[in-house]
């Protein structure tokens, strides 16, 4: 234990003396550790955002869409299978909502358009066409004001809920409720301000407004190809039954004969998560490869700096051996030194990675955060790199002949 502290002290001392050489080593390890930290925190944040979103949707809500690609399903001979499928329609959503096993089916449709208020223009704002149930699904708060009623929804009223970001830009400190803004050239009454939950897909981060679905379809230019629904089964109904009902209803409406495949996709949260996880596992592989490269660079630096250190301190090794240091004690001293070197890199990389994660959390919709596990993994990986790459120089030091080492000039 005492020689451990001594080793750390010697290591820090030789860091001070050989700043340039140590820098390469520390940089390599720091980059490796930083990559682990940043990607780790992104994955952790992404997963957290996902589970938050699924929580607001309720555990049984499932997704109905024109085509669910997912990762790894691509067929090179058939790159665009969705082209053969008809887009979903609002009529289909209304039909699904009437099913006794379905609590609600939320339409999610969007377009981009300019918004103008008193000569102030916001370009390419995301216009979301929703039905009256949308706040239930999306989570978050509407304050001040309210969302559109089922009546306004049915009537394709010209009312709009704007998100906080749009409100701040158009109205500043003023209360936007009751004012009239122009979307794609037509006037809408602002009835509410939406404060979104920290979400996965950038709600709240971009300029976004919400209008009744029918109003969007009729009045805002958009591509009607990619409408999809989130369907929630009734509380007492098992998800499988609701899925069966939805599938049968859509097949009937689309006139599919038995034996013909579905020309739409129904995706449960489990499958949704599976797809997302296969995406994040790609990130994980990238993370491991990048951090390995960083740690390798650091490791090679460790070998270089430690070999120099051993050569320069040949005499010291001779003295220590003459005073009774065994091979194992000399080996240990240099291993501790190597691990200290990489640990310094590890701490620097961790600090940098932590700061970057904080910045990412502030600047992007992903609620990146640093889980304790990745801090530990990063530090252990750094120390282990030092030990692993320190073995060669340390064992070289430990095997020096004391008489020759003492004579070394």
């Amino acid at each position: 234990m005492t020689s451990l502290f001594e080793g750390v002290g010697i290591a820090l001392g030789s860091l001070r003396v050989h700043k340039m050489r140590a820098a390469l080593t520390i940089l390599g390890v720091a980059i490796g550790v930083m990559v682990v930290m940043v990607i780790g925190s992104l994955i952790a944040g992404f997963n957290k955002g996902l589970s938050d979103m699924l929580e607001t949707l309720g555990p049984k809500t499932f997704y109905v869409g024109r085509f669910w690609g997912g990762a790894g399903n691509e067929d090179p001979d058939d790159p665009n299978p969705w082209r053969r499928r008809p887009p979903l329609t609002i009529a289909e959503a209304e039909r699904l909502e009437q099913l006794p096993t379905v609590k609600f089916a939320v339409v999610d449709e969007n377009a981009n358009a300019d918004i103008v208020f008193e000569g102030k223009r916001l370009g390419a704002v995301s216009i979301q066409g929703r039905d009256a149930d949308w706040p239930k699904v999306a989570g978050g708060d509407i304050y001040p004001g309210r969302s559109f009623s089922p009546l306004e929804d049915k009537a394709n009223a010209f009312v709009v809920v704007i998100n906080i970001k749009v409100s701040e830009q158009l109205f500043g400190e003023r209360d936007p409720i009751g004012h009239r803004i122009k979307i794609a050239g037509l006037p809408y009454d602002v009835i509410g301000v939406y404060d979104p939950p920290t979400g996965l897909f950038g709600e709240g981060d971009q300029n976004e407004v919400f209008i009744p679905y029918g109003t969007l379809v009729k009045n805002v230019p958009y591509r009607p190809d990619w409408m999809d629904f989130f369907v929630a089964p009734e509380d007492s109904v098992p998800i499988e039954r609701a899925i069966d009902d939805v599938t049968i209803a859509l097949r009937t409406m689309r006139g599919l004969r038995p034996g013909q495949p579905n020309n739409f996709d129904v995706v449960t949260q489990e499958k949704y998560l599976e797809t997302v996880n296969s995406m994040t596992s790609v990130f994980k592989v990238i993370m491991i490869v990048l951090s390995m490269v960083g740690l390798m660079v650091g490791g090679i630096g460790v070998v270089a700096i430690m070999m120099i250190s051993v050569t320069e301190r040949t005499r010291e090794i001779g003295v220590r051996k003459a005073l009774g240091a065994t091979r194992r004690e000399v080996l240990w001293q240099f291993l501790v030194e190597a691990a200290t070197l990489t640990l310094v890199g590890g701490v620097i990389g961790m600090t940098a990675g932590g700061l970057i994660s904080l910045l990412l959390a502030a600047a992007t919709p992903i609620p990146a955060y640093v889980p304790l596990g990745s801090v530990i993994v990063a530090l252990v990986a750094a120390a282990f790199t030092g030990l692993l790459f320190g073995i060669y120089p340390a064992s070289k030091a430990s095997r020096l002949d004391p008489v020759e080492a003492l004579r070394y000039e």
Partner: protein, 243 residues
């Protein structure tokens, strides 16, 4: 003039004899050509003797000191230290013996340049496995013994040559070794400072310390009670003298 009865291979030395070498040999293989640095040295040194080893350059003095100090292993003969045969021990066992039984003083001091005097003196105690508190106390005591109680926090480059060598002596003493070995301890010092170091050695000898020292200078060797002269890897003369 025989100092002890003739030692035969297979005997165990008398308890009073700290160092016993029997036909000790050390040869270096220089790529085919064999250099025989020691060719059969038989020596017996008793507890509390003060021995100077002299001889021309290349006669094998340092080679013998390294063997006596367990830094090196002989290629022939036997070496008994404190009644234990050490000539065929392995690396780790020799390291333990160096730590417990041997105190080295070198011509070039061999202090760790970045460490304080105190820390330098603590080193043998670290390898002896002592706790930090005890180490500091013993190291401080050893420094006081050589008159450097007021220089403990100084680094070697903040000390004079004589002071550095005294730190080295304190380091050699701190483990209370059976023998103090010094290879030309005054070789890098002026004559006044050499005299001071010899006084330290003399005082240690009077306190009961066994001292073996290599020197080129007759007036340094004059401090010892016995002078062994080597020539071509063999003992040429072995004489007691008035201290």
């Amino acid at each position: 003039m025989s100092l002890a009865q003739q030692f035969r291979t297979g005997d165990t030395p008398l308890p009073d004899i700290i160092i016993l070498t029997h036909k000790l040999a050390r040869a270096y293989d220089m790529g085919g050509e064999v250099v025989r640095a020691l060719r059969g040295v038989s020596l017996q040194i008793r507890r509390n003797e003060y021995v100077a080893i002299m001889g021309p350059s290349g006669s094998g003095k340092s080679t013998l000191m390294n063997l006596i100090g367990c830094l090196d292993t002989p290629t022939g003969g036997e070496y008994w230290l404190n009644g234990q045969k050490v000539s065929d021990l392995g690396d780790d066992a020799l390291a333990r013996i160096r730590n417990k039984e041997i105190g080295f003083v070198f011509q070039t001091f061999n202090l760790l340049p970045r460490a304080t005097a105190l820390h330098n003196v603590e080193l043998p105690l670290i390898y002896a496995g002592l706790g930090a508190k005890e180490r500091r106390a013993q190291a401080a005591q050893a420094l006081e013994r050589v008159g450097l109680g007021d220089r403990m926090e100084h680094r070697p480059n903040e000390l004079s040559g004589g002071q550095r060598q005294r730190v080295a002596i304190a380091r050699a003493l701190v483990n209370d070794p059976s023998i103090l070995l010094a290879d030309e301890p005054t070789g890098n010092l002026d004559s006044a400072t050499s005299g001071e170091i010899m006084e330290v050695f003399g005082a240690l000898h009077r306190q009961g310390q066994t001292v073996v020292m290599v020197t080129h200078e007759h007036d340094i060797a004059a401090h010892a009670a016995r002078v062994v002269t080597l020539r071509d890897g063999l003992v040429a003369t072995d004489q007691r003298q008035a201290a």
